[in-house]
Point group: C2
Chain length 396, copies 2
């Protein structure tokens, strides 16, 4: 029988892979100035330090690290995450309420695996991270977008949706959101925790950018206001140590976490031990925050340079002014199309991501996302110069 007669699972209907995949390939084009990715700067990856740590860990505990580990995670890491979560995210959590995962992407996958039946509704910010929208779609849930403003997702609209649509879950990035860079206000964080237990909706709180703060004051997590266990917290070390290591974690109430753990058994058995032990070493030896403080200095300068140039960029109607994270979200004048203009920008050597891909229902073709972490000050200046040309030309 011809292999082309093979049919695939219906969860793939309408799924074609990440829409911005092709754009990401541009990162590899020599000389391309990329404002498109969401990668840490090369200088933010502690390669030399980690070479020593990896060697030391393998010599010290290699027989444990190279053997099968528990699906529940590497015990020392679960323990060292407890004070980290208390100090950085303001919530109390026992070691056995934490599941180390293979990047926080897996946390989202496991939450969906545990909770979502086809046709269930999942509320997302409009716009939001498209990788996790794809994850939700693969579980055949219906995405219900709720708009956000300068203070993050609009909680009045959210309550209406909770009431009317009875969703299973809300997916929210409270701090330096992807793609907007916006931070959810304190009042809204409290309100979301309240709404969660009022309406019985799981909150999937995704907070990978929090440590990358360049201005303003820290806010407690939504999870810190959770009294009954409706908030599941997803964290990641991808933005502050290394995405290539694939280590994140999920904190959730024990019943939900147990389902996620069973789900993980048949996803990948456990997260690689060496990788968990490396992250554990960064936490235990207090190497994380000094490293973060170092990289934040550069990122702050890159962000401010880009914001300054956006203010003078032709065609740009408005843009967010993030206090941290990796992204700025901007809007061109009404009627301009960032998807079409991307081709011209790329021809001249600059890439960005059109904003339309971050909206659950598309549209908003005049928006676009800029990343500043992967470009030097000089590249930001040259790149923004090119965008100014391209956009100015488009308005004629």
């Amino acid at each position: 029988m011809d292999i082309h007669s093979l049919t695939f699972a219906s969860r793939f209907d309408g799924i074609s892979g990440s829409a911005i995949r092709e754009i990401f390939k541009l990162l590899a084009v020599p000389g391309m100035i990329s404002f498109a990715g969401g990668n840490p700067a090369a200088s933010a990856l502690p390669d030399i330090q980690m070479a020593e740590i990896a060697k030391e860990l393998l010599l010290d505990k290699g027989k444990i690290l190279l053997q099968y580990g528990a699906t529940e995670g590497y015990a020392p890491l679960r323990e060292s995450l407890v004070p980290y979560l208390k100090n950085r995210f303001s919530f109390d959590c026992k070691a056995d309420e934490i599941l180390p995962v293979t990047g926080s992407t897996q946390a989202m996958d496991l939450l969906c695996k545990a909770l979502i039946n086809p046709g269930d509704k999942v509320v997302v910010e409009n716009p939001t991270f498209l990788g996790n929208m794809q994850c939700i779609k693969l579980y055949q849930a219906q995405l219900v977008p709720v708009d956000s403003d300068e203070d993050g997702i609009k909680v009045d609209e959210l309550e209406e949706v909770f009431k009317k649509e009875r969703p299973k879950m809300l997916y929210v990035i409270p701090t330096f959101q992807n793609p907007t860079g916006r931070t959810l206000s304190l009042a809204r964080r409290k309100k979301i925790a309240e709404l969660a237990s009022q309406y019985g909706v799981i909150i999937a709180e995704d907070d990978p950018y929090r440590d990358l703060r360049y201005a303003g004051d820290e806010l407690p997590s939504i999870k810190s206001f959770d009294t009954e266990g409706w908030v599941a917290f997803m964290g990641s070390f991808s933005k502050v140590i290394s995405p290539g290591l694939r280590v994140g974690f999920l904190c959730a109430n024990p019943t939900l976490l147990r389902k996620c753990t069973i789900g993980k058994q048949s996803s990948d058995v456990h997260t690689a031990n060496l990788n968990q032990a490396i992250v554990d070493a960064y936490l235990r030896r207090n190497l994380l925050m000094p490293h973060v403080n170092e990289i934040c200095k550069n990122y702050a300068e890159q962000l401010n340079t880009m914001l300054g140039l956006l203010a003078k960029c032709g065609g740009v109607a408005r843009y967010t002014r993030p206090q941290g994270g990796l992204f700025i979200f901007a809007e061109l004048q009404e009627g301009m199309d960032s998807v079409k203009l991307l081709n011209k920008a790329v021809e001249k050597g600059v890439a960005y991501v059109p904003g339309t891909y971050f909206y659950a229902q598309g549209g908003h073709e005049n928006t676009f996302r800029l990343n500043f972490s992967m470009s030097t000050i000089d590249e930001i200046e040259r790149g923004m110069g090119i965008l100014n040309e391209v956009f100015s030309e488009a308005i004629g």
Copy 2:
């Protein structure tokens, strides 16, 4: 709302986690002789060598390895797998037909994700690896068991099932099967490849034990007889380098592999780069086979010792005589119950896995699985002595 009102996805109906989880916890009891696990021996884990390799790789290519990687995998590893697959598994495969995954467990998960709709039928050997049975169940497929004999799964019955049940997939472990240790004969390998394209059934060929051969001649993979792309091949480095690293791979026809790759995007984005690079180094520097040859010497002795003692073990009616791998499967006299006898064995300090858990529909309570890789010759002698006592006592 009380968190206990939370309902879970229906895929978890009837799923309670690995049945042998509790037994595996016995591995950690001090002094327990465990014939229960499927772990490599501690001496088979190349910790010191890998400490140097990890350090060197991070110093050399740390900026690449610690950055995000492609979902498609670390390009050097995909390339070095091509000659490895040719030499060891006798099939030709291009680098872009290979997807490195986070342990071959993930390969199974991705195949199910790509192919299985609830209610689809998946044929499994009876008995088979229960981890992957759980994976298949979580995709709400119906397991269709087909019995095996000394030459592996019975292909006549298999053809009947293909004809009558129109399954989507066959899951098969052709070499030193888990739990039986049996190897699928050459004729049956050819026949299964034929049946696959005749009936349009995907063969998920899982071959993690092949390199652990202590006697007899190697056989080509089922995949090597695949002319049209119906065979998906899953490989692993867990049994020969390290399970804790979580590196395996999937080879499949490009259309199927593309779906699996899209599925992997939202599973864990990509397999950790450092871990892929370590495996690549073992292949590229020709470190793998000398290491394998070294560990096979010990395993052969352990296997033969255990087989010798099984011949004299009270209550044992028959047992398999594997030429490699990690397991022996044995049958007690009719009417004896290995589940009940396990408690007595554990009290006296020995653990094994009752065979019933490996059968899709249970039953076969007189069977049990023995692992020999994690025990010294002395432990095997003492442990088999205890089993002899326990079983002899049971027959009175």
